[in-house]
């Protein structure tokens, strides 16, 4: 048996860091299954305005009518049993402003995940969501004075409807896809952020999403509005304990970058390998604005996610940098969408995927440049690395370009870590796991340079863990 075959056998997903849970103890529980009563319960608990309940009920109708996506999906979706999932679980609706006021089990959870420590070190604000609601939310005082708003979705809609309502559900309409409809019916938690004109956040805001309960669905809703000339970096992380049953995470994230604003949205997704992660993410960039998605998918059973940018104003820029790692039993179906709607808009997509053992990664890209536009540019690079003979990768680019002086560039490559490369590195004294890890880190190295330092360190650590855990 060759080294590589041996390794395929020994591979397993290492989600140990997040693999712990506390007993379930919830004050609010919408029960199992989804119907009108579930939606009414959620809305009532949140004490919402009637228009929000209407919005939810209409979304439920859309969800029930819409078939499962078939063109861009995986057969594994059939294994989601919507009637066995719990749609709302919380200990209360108001997040604590200090860690001291967070219930002990929740606080310990986030301490084990290192969140308070990161907050002290390099963050401007943190929101920590435990199942359906944020348990903790805090932002530095000086930002509050500058008019920055950083709250949960319910609080955002209740307290600042004049700011958030005009954009809520506008970048991603309810009927965009079945899962955006599901989220629109059941959403809870997430971050609503407003950055006033000209305010540039020097440190990132962060949200951490934690699933603790079994048979649970987490449906956070995020809306970030960067007013003219402002700048913000937002980071999200996520973990869950590993259950035997499937867990569902289905978020909707809308970004609005007004004239000359910049939004950078960073995700490090490390869900346990029983989580269906079906997320819709889209940004809108006005004239001269920039939306950049940095999207890293390490965990989950099946991820379907194609962050997109609607380049609405002249000179807008959109970017998606993504890294996906698919281990045994995982399918990372990721990619990007770039919709050019104005002249002189540019977009850039760089995607790197790694398939290990029987893991499967898929890249789907859509670039759209209609006929009436001038001087638009897109660059797409997607590279796949296969670690063993069973690994699988697919690339489905869909590019439509018309019009004058519009250019698109698409490069794709598939490479394999060869037995000879591993032998070469082992001859220098590295163990097989170290050699694999080095090869994989080398593959993503260039792209990682574009990441904020704290996150590239975390990502490197996660990759090392996956690779070292993969050989005996």
């Amino acid at each position: 048996m060759s080294n590589l075959e041996l390794q395929e056998e020994a591979i397993h997903v290492d989600t140990e860091k997040g693999n712990f849970k506390y007993p379930e103890n919830y004050e609010f529980d919408a029960g199992v299954g989804l119907n009108e009563d579930t939606v009414r319960y959620i809305s009532k608990v949140k004490n919402e305005d009637p228009w929000i309940l209407d919005f939810r009920l209409k979304a439920l109708e859309v969800f029930n009518k819409k078939p499962m996506p078939t063109n861009w999906a995986d057969k594994d979706l059939e294994n989601i049993h919507f009637d066995k999932i719990r749609y709302y679980l919380s200990k209360g609706q108001v997040p604590a402003r200090s860690w001291d006021d967070v219930p002990d089990d929740v606080k310990e959870t986030f301490e084990r995940l290192g969140i308070p420590e990161q907050e002290r070190k390099f963050l401007a604000g943190v929101e920590a969501q435990f199942d359906s609601e944020a348990s903790y939310s805090h932002m530095k005082e000086d930002l509050e004075k500058e008019g920055v708003i950083f709250v949960g979705s319910s609080e955002g809609l209740a307290k600042y409807p004049e700011i958030f309502k005009p954009y809520f559900g506008k970048v991603i309409p309810t009927a965009d896809n079945k899962f955006s409809a599901l989220n629109s019916a059941t959403f809870s938690g997430g971050s609503f952020i407003y950055v006033p004109k000209g305010v540039k956040l020097k440190q990132p805001l962060q949200a951490y999403f934690r699933i603790n309960a079994e048979n649970f669905g987490q449906f956070e809703r995020t809306l970030i509005i960067a007013d003219e000339g402002s700048e913000i970096t937002y980071m999200e992380g996520c973990t869950a304990p590993k259950f035997e049953t499937a867990t569902l995470h289905s978020a909707v994230v809308e970004l609005v970058a007004l004239k000359n604003a910049k939004i950078q949205y960073i995700t490090v997704q490390n869900w346990s390998s029983n989580v269906f992660n079906l997320v819709t993410k889209r940004g809108m960039a006005d004239e001269g604005a920039e939306v950049k998605w940095i999207d890293c998918n390490i965990g989950s059973r099946l991820t379907i996610k194609y962050p997109g940018v609607v380049l609405k104003g002249k000179g807008a820029r959109g970017e998606v940098l993504s890294i996906a790692l698919a281990n045994d039993g995982q399918h990372q179906d990721t990619g990007a969408k770039m919709m050019h709607l104005a002249d002189n808009t540019t977009s850039n997509i760089i995607s790197k995927s790694i398939s290990i053992g029987k893991g499967r990664s898929t890249y789907r890209g859509q670039v759209h440049m209609p006929k009436h536009l001038k001087n638009c540019k897109n660059n797409t690079e997607c590279d796949a690395l296969l670690i063993s003979t069973n690994s699988r990768t697919d690339t489905y680019p869909a590019i439509t370009t018309r019009g004058l002086n519009n250019t698109v560039q698409h490069e794709a490559s598939v490479s394999k870590v060869s037995a000879e490369q591993i032998f070469y590195m082992m001859q220098r004294g590295l163990s097989e796991g170290e050699a694999m890890s080095l090869a994989v880190n080398g593959f993503v190295n260039e792209l990682m340079k574009a990441f904020p330092m704290e996150y590239s360190v975390e990502l490197k650590r996660l990759i090392d863990m996956e690779m070292e855990g993969s050989v005996g």
Partner: protein
């Protein structure tokens, strides 16, 4: 005990015998050259010594200072003190020379011991200077897009940084122009010591003008048929391999 000893080694690949009763002993402090025509099993020998899994060892022994290394993983053999300078070094995209050698050095340290980064770079730069490798190379991906000569110099750099007890060099001279040959040879000569043994596998004599061997062996059909001093290499150069074949192959040992 201070020897690299290969005893009656028989090796095959896909049922075809490559090494046939091959024996060779290299004491520390000596440089042995292994010469012979293409296809006689020289490169196979190098790979088997380094623990490559594609070959089947039918019988025989390889002892490093008395310890058997046959059946060990490639990294264990490296830790035991054997270094192989590859004929065709592999490209490792995205992994810089500096990071790779550092990881290799770290792998050779006992558990819990850490490399001193300042000392490491000082040593790395000094050795790069002596091999006339531009310091900018530290940030380049290992062997990726290197010329033949650059790859071979990089092999010698790794060898110098890991300071093994036994060095096996497989056709290090192939693809080198005369200047690169001289530089690589100087690098090897600096490493010659009573504490270290060398096996230099080469097709041509010209490398041995710069790295003067203590013993020269000629290999035919899977084993050594004739050995001599450095003059033997020169004789091979002028007379070719045919006379060795006529004189020694097939004749009773």
């Amino acid at each position: 005990m201070n020897t690299l000893e290969i005893k009656n080694l028989n090796v095959s690949i896909d049922g075809q015998a490559i090494l046939k009763d091959f024996s060779l002993t290299i004491p520390k402090g000596e440089v042995h050259a292994l010469m012979g025509p293409n296809g006689t099993g020289k490169s196979t020998l190098a790979k088997v010594m380094a623990g490559h899994e594609d070959y089947t060892v039918e019988s025989g022994e390889i002892l490093l200072d008395g310890e058997s290394i046959l059946g060990k993983e490639a990294d264990e053999i490296s830790h035991a003190g054997l270094f192989l300078a590859f004929q065709y070094p592999m490209e490792i995209p995205g992994v810089s020379i500096a990071n790779f050698i550092r990881a290799a050095r770290q792998a050779h340290l006992p558990e819990g011991e850490e490399i001193n980064a300042v000392e490491y770079y000082k040593e790395l730069y000094a050795k790069m200077d002596s091999l006339k490798i531009d310091r900018k190379f530290t940030a380049r991906s290992l062997n990726e897009g290197f010329s033949g000569g650059e790859k071979k110099r990089c092999e010698i750099l790794q060898m110098a940084m890991l300071a093994p007890q036994y060095c096996v060099m497989d056709e290090t001279d192939s693809g080198l122009d005369i200047d690169a040959l001289r530089i690589v040879s100087e690098g090897v000569n600096l490493m010659r010591s009573d504490e270290r043994g060398f096996l230099i596998i080469t097709h041509y004599q010209r490398l041995l003008d710069y790295i003067v061997p203590d013993v020269v062996h000629v290999m035919f059909d899977g084993h050594i048929v004739h050995s001599g001093d450095k003059e033997l290499a020169k004789e091979l150069e002028t007379k070719g391999y045919d006379w060795v074949e006529e004189e020694f192959v097939g004749a009773p040992a």
